[in-house]
Point group: C2
Chain length 134, copies 2
């Protein structure tokens, strides 16, 4: 994938094989994968990939703004290659995480002098599949 390389270079990050693979995976799989999901998925094509490198890479990508680390659930961190402004909701039955769009303004009254840098909106609930099982 060409896009991943451009994105990495745009941030001044050396586009190694491993970083390209991880970022390309996130860009093409919008399933909010966990570290383990990413690892299992890339392992077949990249047998030497280590968890260490994966952790390093994901930390690098999220701190440079190329990916989001979702902490909707304290049990696991999920990653999202879509860094546009959107919310996430999680079904407490099946555990699936979905994206949703934000509409309009979200007026907040932050503590005096607090500089807002990023915002995450998380919704817990039950998804339609779990509400009406077929």
């Amino acid at each position: 994938m060409k896009e991943a390389q451009v994105l990495l270079e745009g941030k001044g990050i050396r586009p190694t094989q491993q970083r390209l693979a991880v970022l390309a995976y996130l860009l093409s799989h919008k399933i909010h994968p966990t570290v383990d999901t990413i690892y299992s998925s890339l392992q077949p094509q990249m047998p030497t990939l280590s968890k260490t490198t994966l952790y390093n890479t994901l930390k690098l990508l999220s701190s440079s703004g190329l990916a989001l680390a979702l902490t909707i659930d304290g049990d696991e961190i999920r990653f999202d290659g879509d860094t546009s402004d959107h919310g996430h909701c999680k079904c407490r039955l099946c555990g699936q995480v979905y994206d949703f769009e934000l509409r309009g303004d979200y007026p907040v009254e932050l503590p005096p002098g607090f500089r807002q840098e990023s915002t995450h909106l998380y919704v817990w609930g039950t998804c339609s599949d779990c509400l009406s099982p077929s």
Copy 2:
């Protein structure tokens, strides 16, 4: 504290010494403590309190709606005895977590058929103390 006992009984939870102490602590210390903070604070008055019981109790309180488990940061879970509707913001420099009020509606376009049950709004940024150190 009387309030803690009433709250526990209202949920049909047996008000043991340990549960009363943890809930009373959360109600009177609105500092979004971590498990370790709670443990260190209660340990002096309750030397036999174990981490196991503390974990059990916090899980019980959050699943019964008497406390909130905050997952603003993937590194740690913090607990909040204030279960009213409010947002949380964290300073990425000093790590302090603050409450803030929500103003008005937060229109969201959830996936079709998704039943919204609870909502968390997290803001990252820099607090006034860290922006203008005295």
